[in-house]
Amino acid sequence: MAKKILRMALTLIISLVLVFFIVKAMPGDPVQTLTQQYMTTDKLPYEQAYERAKVALNYDPEVPVMEQFLTYINQLLHGDMGQSMSYKDSVVNIVLGALPWTLLVCSISLLLSFAVGNIVGLFIAWKRSRLWDGIMSGYQAVFGSIPDYIVAYLLVVIFSISLGLFPARGAYSSETVPGWNLDFILDVMYHAALPVLCYFLTTVASWVMGMKAICVGLLGEDYMNYARARGLSRKRILFTYLGRNAMLPQITSLAITFGLLFGGSPVIENLFVYPGVGFYLNSAISRRDYPLMQGMFLMIIIMVLISGLVADALNKWLNPRLREKR
């Protein structure tokens, strides 16, 4: 456990170093670039624009690198991630605004594919269904072979443009008033439908095949035979013996997969113009908006680390073997 925490801390520090020094490694001086930008867009004199650029980038070229890094960390700890260069807002605000959307779409789609995948996987293993095994292997081979972006694009073309069933972009329509009212919630769900479907289609097969593999392994365990010999009902064996034992590893991967989905969100969010973390990361990179890039990247890393922690905790909590060994 201590090793795990050390590793997490190191990962975080390395990510910080990475995103911080990337700005330094950039071709050209970003402060100068931003200064020029402020001079033209906001009609500021050079001095003033330069000062503002330094603040926005959290970065002063005249100070030694180490000191810059410490200042950067210090500001981060005080919840200051600097100013976005392309959006007129603080990075913290944008990150906090983007986070719920990614959380929403990722968790709905993850729970959906987790539930469906495990049920289907359990079914295939229990019934030893060669037909469905073949179908799902084929499905997995195909969906594992095409980039997510293509799936997302085809979904937009089919369900949004051709059939007009779902909106293709955004998280909610401009007519609704954001807040805890039914109209808004329904609208949000309506807009989330296609991204969720996309995540679902691209991830469900791996849950099915994973569950199937685990169950096939478990069916060979001695306690399965022993349960049958004791005259336990098929239902009891299916759920308490096969299901419960198979769920242990699956629930652990649930949390880990959440981190992975988070990391994979740029592609899908970008196509659906869905204002989540991945969308802003992508837009920050293509607009060379360094502070925003740093913020979004850190957010993704933090979410992955949290998922890892949750996975560990879940595993400990569910597995009687690990429960006492703290």
Partner: protein, 268 residues
């Protein structure tokens, strides 16, 4: 099935080697924009009047080269890290595995995105480097485990007692034992690299240069899109996808066959 995979992969490799010499360099000709397939243009033309078929053939080489570079790069790093870690043990092992774990923890695609911002991807080699730099960790761990199991085996023990150097142990005893295992992982890293490369291109994060199926896709989506209606935009869009799908499936089937051949537990 693995034979089918081998045939598909071989065809793509042949096309990548000899194809570009056999087709003409695609050139823009706005007079023949979005023409349907004909004897002159086997797969029609794109929005700028370029021949889709020759773009596809040229793209095959680019895609395979980029994936190959990524795979080779990742495998070299993975072997170096995994073998060193497994053989040396102790502090070196602890540090290397810590680094590996960190690479594993940080999600690959966002890292590649950020790297593509820093590194100006101007040629295939650099592209392969960017794609491969974050995909060696899982393989390195697996190789380390293999090395550790091999290390306990008698013949390595014997080599050590006979005073054979580490380098010799690596080349004579360890590498031959993990080669098929590495080959399977090499293929899956290549598959991942192709997916990432296409995703990067459609996101527009890699500057437009040369020919790549991802580029063709991005242009098909960005410039014509399926919404134009008519057959040609669909052909335009479907050609690179079919390329990706077929090559990936070929790799998948081939790797699966390899896996079954070397893994006795999977044999029926």
């Amino acid at each position: 099935m693995s034979r089918v995979g081998l045939v598909i992969v071989s065809i793509f490799i042949l096309v990548a080697i000899f194809g570009p010499a056999l087709v003409q360099e695609p050139e823009s000709d706005f007079l023949v924009r979005l023409k349907a397939p004909s004897s002159e243009h086997w797969l029609g033309t794109d929005y700028a009047g370029r021949d889709i078929f020759s773009m596809f053939i040229m793209g095959t080489r680019t895609v395979l080269m980029v994936a190959l570079y990524a795979g080779v790069f990742a495998v070299i790093v993975a072997c170096a890290v995994g073998i060193t870690s497994g053989l040396l043990g102790g502090k070196a092992d602890a540090v290397l595995m810590m680094i590996t774990d960190i690479v594993l923890t940080m999600p690959q695609f966002p890292v590649i995105m950020v790297l593509s911002m820093v590194i100006n991807v101007s040629n295939n080699l650099l592209f392969g480097f960017v794609l491969g730099i974050w995909s060696w960790a899982a393989l390195a761990k697996a190789i380390r485990t293999q090395v550790l199991t091999l290390k306990d085996k008698d013949f390595i023990e014997a080599s050590r007692i006979m005073g054979i150097s580490n380098i010799n142990i690596i080349t004579k005893d360890i590498l031959p034992n993990i080669v098929s295992f590495v080959a399977i992982n090499f293929i899956s890293i290549m598959r991942g690299a192709i997916l990432s490369s296409v995703n990067l291109m459609v996101l527009g994060l890699v500057p437009i240069n040369g020919t790549h199926w991802g580029m063709m896709l991005q242009m098909a989506i960005g410039q014509t899109s399926l919404l134009y209606g008519g057959i040609q935009p669909i052909v335009n869009f479907a050609t690179p996808i079919m390329g990706i799908l077929l090559f990936q499936l070929g790799c998948y089937l081939f790797a699966m066959g390899l896996d079954e051949a070397m893994n006795p537990r999977l044999r029926r």
